[in-house]
């Protein structure tokens, strides 16, 4: 993008150079059409709303960082494609989060996978047993990072807003209803 465009006109120097370094920080299209942070207790409410808006669950994953675990839920829609990502921060000491199994049964395995690899406990999950790991696996979950390797939110997502939104707010409802990848592609 920017680098390519900048090449033909070689004249502008310092200003452009600063820009060059900064601009790739924001990819043209990150693959997300709506990106929000949620408080753990409001997750179920938000997911129910997504269910009513006809979204399907792509996957549940988890990122280990300084502030704790970030559980990431990706949703997409068949009829009007657009990716919604919900991010929930939970603490490292007590990694508990409500399971969305009742709303999306397909989450069962994704949640078990997170439980395997990070030790996140999903409360209300009917069958939280190891899925991919050996049930006799000893030692810490494999994807946990060393203390020293952990990064914090600002290092990993420099350009995002980290304040949780409420799923009841109008903004959330509006965003998920209008979310479509066509729109965000054209914007950028």
């Amino acid at each position: 993008m920017s680098e390519e465009n900048a090449k033909p006109e070689k004249a502008p120097d310092k200003e452009k150079e600063v820009k060059k370094k900064e601009e790739p920080q924001v990819p043209k299209y990150t693959g997300y059409d709506y990106d929000c942070f949620l408080a753990p207790q409001e997750l179920l409410k938000a997911v129910t709303k997504l269910d009513h808006a006809d979204f399907f669950l792509e996957d549940v994953s988890c990122v280990d960082m300084q502030e704790g675990f970030q559980v990431v839920y990706h949703f997409d829609r068949f009829s009007q494609p657009g990716r919604v990502v919900l991010r929930v921060m939970i603490s490292r000491e007590n990694p508990e989060i409500p399971s969305i199994y009742d709303i999306f049964p397909g989450a069962a395995w994704h949640e078990r996978e997170c439980f395997d690899f990070f030790g996140v406990r999903f409360t209300g999950h009917p069958n939280l047993i190891p899925l991919l790991l050996d049930p006799e696996h000893q030692g810490p979950p494999p994807l946990l990072k060393e203390e020293t390797a952990l990064k914090d939110l600002n290092q990993l997502y420099p350009d995002r807003v980290h304040t949780p939104v409420s799923p009841d707010s109008e903004e959330f409802v509006k965003e998920i209803n209008n979310c479509s990848n066509q729109k965000s592609r054209n914007q950028s």
Partner: protein
């Protein structure tokens, strides 16, 4: 060493978990992990009443190789060969998802010619994947010959791909910013020849197998998956399209140059194994259409960016890249901290979501039909 040789009937961890809810008059049966119809190492614990399945629980992870962890300890180029190993039948799509996720994060512009080459090779690979599925599925259902026909075409395509990519199965062809090797006239000519060779073959496949009434009895009205179940479980790809939802990432979220080609998205609303079967058969023909269009409009230019990064260090941030693999939606969630290896890489394997609906669908069906359903999901286990 444990020398207690008394018969231990309690089973392993999963069997013990499964057992307590068993009814008095039923039997628990392990299907797999080395069962020929499970294509890989998949084990399914079944509770059966006569020939009917009451409950099923897949147990997996026998050959899980922790590619996600490997990504965290390897640098970006070192991880290039890995993704193709997660789905050995459609390796190029995974390879593509990986490089494209990194490209998206870095904002690299891939030369057009490279995009076209990617489309052509990826579609060729999709055909080989579907052909193998076709042969193997019929093998599961008891027909031995079709796989020979499938392999005839598959081998020819693999020969074509081998000349360009260097491998026949676990490809490592795409590079950040392009592909590793340009295609030449011979490739184009051979591909064209293969395309025109395959067109009448589909008619033959139809005569030979699809219309065969033994097959129809085995797949029609078997394993009905309503569209809403697909949505709840996140099933994608032919499984979803076999349930009447024409959702294809190539159209829904057009990546690369797919928006320039004219192709249909086959979908059947019968929701049964036949629907999924027909979707795949049609998809191969659509792939050929795409390949021919791409060959016709192949632009000149570089096959890799002139300044392609050898050792990329994407900026901090995260991206999601999804593309349509032969089995469904492949997703790469890449979180970078600006270092030479990813901070976290999450792979979304389509087969994972597709398989998770098996326990719901298989309730109350015959064991033989369960095999048919499993095959129609087109699983690649690792």
């Amino acid at each position: 060493m444990n020398l207690d040789l008394r018969l231990d009937t309690s089973g392993d961890f999963y069997a013990r978990k499964f057992q307590p809810t068993k009814r008095e008059d039923t039997l628990i049966l392990n299907m797999g992990p080395q069962h020929p119809s499970t294509h890989g190492v998949l084990r399914i614990i079944l509770e059966i009443d006569g020939e009917y399945i009451l409950r099923a629980e897949p147990v997996l992870g026998y050959i899980h190789r922790m590619h996600e962890k490997m990504a965290e300890v390897m640098s970006y180029p070192q991880y290039l060969p890995n993704p193709a190993r997660t789905d050995y039948l459609h390796g190029l799509a995974w390879n593509w998802a990986h490089v494209a996720a990194v490209e998206r994060l870095m904002g690299l512009e891939v030369p057009e010619r490279a995009e076209y080459i990617r489309v052509i090779t990826c579609e060729l690979n999709r055909i080989t994947s579907h052909l193998l599925w076709w042969g193997a599925y019929l093998l599961d259902l008891g027909a031995f010959t079709p796989i020979m026909y499938a392999f005839d075409d598959r081998e020819r395509i693999q020969d074509i791909l081998q000349r360009i990519t260097g491998s026949r199965l676990t490809y490592c062809y795409y590079r950040f910013g392009g592909v590793s090797n340009d295609i030449d006239d011979r490739f184009i000519e051979e591909t064209r020849k293969q395309c025109s060779r395959m067109k009448p073959r589909f008619k033959m496949f139809k005569d030979l197998v699809t219309d065969n009434f033994i097959l129809r009895k085995r797949v029609e009205e078997i394993g009905e998956i309503p569209a809403d179940t697909c949505r709840k479980y996140g099933a994608t790809g032919p499984v979803l399209r076999g349930s009447g939802v024409p959702y294809d990432v190539r159209r829904a979220e057009p990546y690369s140059v797919y928006d320039r080609f004219d192709f249909n998205i086959p979908s059947y609303d019968t929701c049964d194994a036949m629907g999924r079967y027909l979707v795949r058969m049609d998809e191969m023909q659509e792939s050929i259409k795409i390949i021919e269009q791409a060959l016709d409009t192949l632009p000149e230019g570089d096959y890799i960016m002139p300044k392609a990064p050898k050792k990329p260090k994407p900026p901090a941030g995260d991206v999601y890249f999804a593309l349509e693999g032969a089995r469904g939606k492949i997703g790469f969630h890449l979180v970078s901290d600006g270092d030479k290896s990813p901070y976290r890489l999450k792979l979304r394997a389509p087969g994972f979501s597709n398989l998770s609906l098996f326990s719901e669908v298989s309730e109350g069906v015959l064991i033989a039909d369960a095999v048919s359903i499993l095959g129609s999901l087109d699983l690649v286990i690792p």
